[in-house]
């Protein structure tokens, strides 16, 4: 039994926006795999909910005319993983969201919910950061598209205006074309776990596979929100593909990240992991790109 004050069911995006304005205190509910857990814990007990779960127009993955990939916010993790467009162009995202929780959670949980929660450990988030994804928000005055790095404000807070809902995640064509990506979820067990540290890397090699043309690396749980390691990215651009480069790159991330000591893991261990995962993910990307180290 859940302690819910009221549930308002939105039938369309427009309707959802209307409900948002009508019930400003209400919490948006998508798959419910986070919100309902919080209600059970008492954190959001007694709240009003606006369910957007029935808005089918927010589901599915499509390729826009300009080649951008558009993922409706209500698309479930398991649908993303199995989607042909995702598999073909951004398989790394499909793999990343396949590491969320359990099969049941991946069937009900949505990418919109995962990002709107604003938590640093969300398995989709670091990969979306590494892909330079855009977030589409729809409000009473129309659509607003912002980079995912601006969408995250601080732990638990994202940039959604009182009349808005998140409607899609967009991966621009130039951000995935010729890149290979790899995500490593480091957790304490192989299923049903929260990420201790997550690392997502995208690599674009030169045509001869000898030089790193561009590398994007993002972390979950290396700070209060997902983040990129820009120093490391700058460092590696134009460098030769080699063990030494990879090792040096992995150490450079330490100047970017800011993990903390908590009972879930010490700062020292998280820093060690961050470098190790950077090295391993980079190496895997090189392999996927047909390069050699």
């Amino acid at each position: 039994m859940y302690d819910i004050k009221a549930l308002y069911e939105a039938s369309s995006i427009e309707d959802a926006i209307k409900l948002r304005l009508e019930y400003p205190e209400a919490q948006i509910l998508a798959g419910g795999s986070d919100v309902l857990v919080q209600i059970r814990e008492g954190k959001r007990a007694g709240k009003e909910l606006i369910s957007i779960y029935m808005i089918d127009e927010m589901r599915g993955v499509t390729l826009d005319d300009n080649g951008d990939i558009r993922i409706g916010s209500l698309t479930s993790f398991s649908h993303i993983t199995k989607n042909e467009i995702v598999k073909k162009y951004i398989n790394v995202l499909g793999e990343a969201v396949d590491m969320v929780g359990s099969p049941q959670i991946r069937n009900i949980g949505t990418i919109g919910g995962n990002t709107c929660n604003g938590v640093t450990s969300a398995d989709s988030a670091s990969t979306l950061f590494a892909l330079d994804a855009l977030v589409e928000l729809t409000g009473s005055s129309g659509k607003r598209i912002i980079p995912i790095s601006e969408f995250y404000i601080k732990a638990g807070t994202v940039d959604i205006k009182p009349d808005e809902i998140q409607t899609a995640i967009i991966i621009p064509k130039e951000k995935y074309t010729d890149y290979q990506g790899h995500y490593i979820k480091y957790a304490m067990r192989n299923a049903l776990d929260i990420t201790t540290t997550g690392c997502s890397v995208n690599v674009k090699l030169s045509e001869d596979k000898k030089v790193f043309e561009d590398v994007r690396i993002a972390y979950g749980v290396a700070g209060p929100i997902p983040m990129r390691a820009k120093t490391a990215e700058e460092f590696i651009k134009g460098k030769n593909v080699s063990e030494d480069t990879a090792k040096e790159f992995s150490l450079k991330v330490l100047s970017d990240i800011n993990p903390r000591d908590s009972w879930r893991a010490s700062k020292a261990f998280r820093q060690h992991l961050a470098t190790e995962l950077a090295y391993r993910a980079l190496k895997e990307c090189v392999k996927l790109s047909g390069g050699e180290m």
Binding site: Y2, Y186, R189, N190, D193, I194, H272
Partner: protein
């Protein structure tokens, strides 16, 4: 004969299809819902509780606080009662307490019409505390400056005992001895049975009925009586199917409180369903034990003198108390008999959640320490871990003077041989020498000591009743309980053989109801099949005699000349068919001349115990820089005597191995040193290993029929969890050269250990 056959569990189809009714399924939906308010401080006193706001919430029926309940202290351990006052369990619990001894202690309870109202009421209750300093660690708790958790227990010591063999101090003077001096730590873990504890209670005609998810219905009846100052006969306890217990439900949990709450709402039906968070914090956990072992050996690996100091973290209340540490200490001098042994153990109160019984009852902790040190010694002396064990392990013919247990067979060597062969030990030991690089493989093993049942420490008796039905089938009742382990199936198999029936003619009454079920103390100490077998055999033979007596009368053949085989009454001498049991049964019940309801009931008092030994081999792969251990292969080998049902036995071992893997690598409750709160009171943050974390679990057996047992069987319930953690730990040692002396060997621990040893 069906004993020894892998027949399907008799409850399998209903359980798999969801038809089986558990406590919550049986509770009438009209029940009031009870919820417990837990303390948000770790040590102190409740000064006041303001329920005025909570009482206004719609649907709230009654709020009871620690100031309302009777000040009657009661024990909770699921031990058989002792009529000798000095052996009785410590009575230190109240229904609700005004003195808080751990974060999560029970201080008030709400009864409401529904769960939401009950939860809202809990949030609206205001509590004022006076806080005392608290202590979580045993060493600190024993110091003179530590806060005292219970009156009458100076230095917080609940129990202290010692054992001495030979003369340790003299023996260590021998020249040329090598000394090994090590400390080993095991964590606070929880049982994580899938069904959280749940019970409901109501009153009718001045009697209380409590339906509960328990391993020990007859003990629950006694404790509810003690707690509520009611005549025990006025209480009826019913135990339906339960979703596991592993020892947590070998304690009386919320049954007394739930029963009491029913009495304060006019005997109305009240249900108390625990959450997972409450299960982790406010029920029972495994004792965290710190062991210090000193071993003096000769260079050839012969043990000359050994010393054990064992410190057991009891948490806030006595529960099963010192029995756990004492059991661990008891095995120390037996497993590796050494002419000079000194051992002492302490059980110490701290402000942690309460430790009670948990699968293995002190032995998983003891085995981690003992078996880790054996490998440390082997490494120090450059001997093979197998060689040093074989040199020092309990020999065949060893008899323990206290329990009178005898090591009848060459079990250890037989089990070790099987394990070695399966895991390809000799080849791998060679292959894994001189590794370098980030990924390293290792092989390790551990043996374990266990015994069956609790004799001679406590009462050991088992009762059964068999009733011949009209169709020639029998109904069988025992005080021993099915708790998911498959006991009912084993009982059915043994009863079929004892009477001479086929399995389909045996109906085991699974549910225990203290109003009608024969007395029995319940499921614990890996004793169900052992003690149940003895009473089943005895009662089965009584029933058979009565059937044959009637058959003799009907057939005119001397009953002594008759036997029952596969539901048929036949002559002993020429195996001639006389009549079938079904015909006899219907005749006996409806005969106008000599109508009899053929039944039998008996109690068997068991005055023996049996060793149950075995071993575990683990083959692991360590990713050093990732600080992770992957188990590539693992096997447990057990000698639990004759297998009643090999498939069930295997399943039992799988479950225990899974628990052992979690114990070795991931499971532990974590306490906030500033607040005393349990930080990971849920299945996300408490890392119970999942399906994805297990390799194939291999279970094999050596079947030496136990001479003291009716069907040759002995303990298998708990033993599988005992050797796994040290085997994995020793495999990590073999792989990396790093001796990790605490479990779980989480990545956090391995990061520290590998950094210290220069591997990272």
């Amino acid at each position: 004969m069906v004993v020894g056959k892998s027949i399907k569990r008799i409850d399998a189809f209903d359980k798999v299809t969801g038809r089986t009714k558990y406590t919550d399924d049986l509770c009438d939906k009209s029940a009031y819902i009870a919820k417990v308010l837990h303390s948000t401080i770790t040590h102190g006193k409740v000064l006041s509780i303001d329920v005025s706001e909570a009482e206004k919430i719609e649907g709230v029926i009654k709020i009871v606080t620690c100031f309302d309940v009777p000040k009657v202290y009661f024990p909770t351990a699921g031990h058989p009662w002792s009529t000798d006052e000095s052996h009785q369990d410590v009575a230190d619990r109240l229904l609700l307490t005004d003195v808080v001894r751990f974060y999560g202690d029970d201080i008030a309870a709400v009864v409401a019409e529904n769960e939401v109202a009950a939860q809202q009421a809990l949030r609206a209750i205001k509590v004022e505390y006076e806080e005392y300093p608290f202590v979580l660690d045993v060493e600190e708790a024993m110091s003179d400056s530590a806060p005292l958790i219970h009156k009458n227990y100076p230095n917080n010591i609940l129990g202290h005992s010692s054992q001495s063999v030979g003369n340790y101090e003299e023996a260590i003077k021998e020249e040329g001895l090598i000394k090994f001096d090590n400390w080993y730590d095991t964590p606070t873990v929880q049982h994580c049975h899938i069904e959280n504890h749940i019970c409901y209670a109501s009153m009718e005609n001045g009697r209380l009925t409590v339906v509960t998810s328990t391993q020990i219905p007859h003990i629950v009846r006694r404790v509810v009586g003690q707690a509520l100052s009611l005549d025990w006969g006025k209480i009826r306890v019913v135990k339906p199917y339960i979703g596991g217990g592993f020892g947590n439900k070998q304690d009386v949990l919320y049954e007394p409180l739930c029963a009491y709450l029913s009495t304060v709402v006019g005997g109305r039906l009240v249900k108390l369903d625990s959450s997972r968070e409450e299960t982790f914090v406010s029920q029972r956990v495994r004792h965290a034990i710190r062991s210090h072992i000193v071993t003096y050996t000769r260079p050839d690996g012969t043990f000359v003198a050994r010393k054990l100091e064992l410190f057991s973290n009891q948490g806030a209340y006595a529960s099963h108390g010192h029995s756990i540490a004492a059991k661990g200490m008891g095995c120390f001098r037996q497993l590796y008999p050494c002419p000079n042994v000194e051992a002492e153990c302490y059980t110490v109160f701290t402000n942690r959640p309460v430790a009670g019984a948990m699968r293995g009852y002190g032995i998983p902790q003891a085995m981690f320490a003992v078996e880790s040190q054996i490998d440390d010694i082997a490494k120090g002396l450059n001997l093979s871990p197998l060689e040093i064990r074989k040199k020092n392990l309990m020999p065949v013919g060893y008899k323990d003077e206290f329990s009178k247990n005898v090591n009848y067979f060459d079990t250890f060597n037989q089990c070790i041989e099987k394990g070695k062969k399966y895991i390809d030990y000799d080849r791998k030991i060679e292959e894994y020498k001189n590794q370098s690089g980030n990924i390293r493989k290792g092989i390790g093993m551990a043996v374990f000591w266990y015994n069956t049942a609790v004799w001679p420490i406590s009462l050991e008796s088992s009762s059964s009743r068999m009733v011949l039905n009209q169709d020639g089938s029998i109904s069988v009742q025992l005080g021993e309980t099915e708790i998911g382990q498959g006991a009912d199936t084993a009982f059915a198999q043994m009863a079929a053989d004892a009477v001479g029936l086929t399995l389909d003619k045996v109906n085991v009454v699974s549910c225990q109801d203290t109003d009608v079920t024969p007395f029995g103390t319940g499921a614990y100490a890996s004793r169900q099949t052992y003690v149940g077998g003895l009473t089943i055999k005895q009662t089965g033979e009584m029933l058979k005699m009565r059937i044959l007596d009637y058959a003799g009368k009907l057939s005119g053949i001397d009953a002594a000349e008759l036997d029952i085989v596969d539901n048929n009454i036949i002559t002993v001498s020429d195996k001639k068919f006389v009549m079938d049991v079904a015909k006899l049964a219907i005749t006996a019940l409806y005969s106008m001349e000599d109508s009899r309801h053929i039944t039998a009931e008996s109690t068997y008092q068991i005055k023996s115990n049996a060793y149950s030994f075995g071993c575990c081999f683990a083959d692991v792969e360590v990713d050093i820089r990732a600080c992770k251990v992957k188990i590539n292969d693992i096997i447990n080998v057990h000698d639990c005597g004759t297998l009643i049902n090999p498939a069930l036995a295997e399943a039992q071992v799988h479950g225990g191995m899974s628990m052992g893997i979690g114990y070795a690598l991931s499971e532990q409750e974590i306490f906030d040193s500033r607040t005393g709160r349990t930080l990971n009171n849920n299945l996300l943050d408490y890392k119970l290993s999942t399906f994805m974390d297990h390799p194939h679990l291999e279970a094999q057996f050596v079947e030496n029929a136990e001479p003291t047992s009716a069907f040759g069987t002995k303990a298998l319930g708990e033993p599988p969890a005992c050797p796994v953690a040290p085997a994995i730990r020793n495999a990590v040692l073999n792989a990396t050269g790093v001796a990790v002396n605490k479990i779980p060997m989480t990545p956090h621990v391995l990061f520290e250990e590998f950094s210290k040893s220069g591997l990272i």
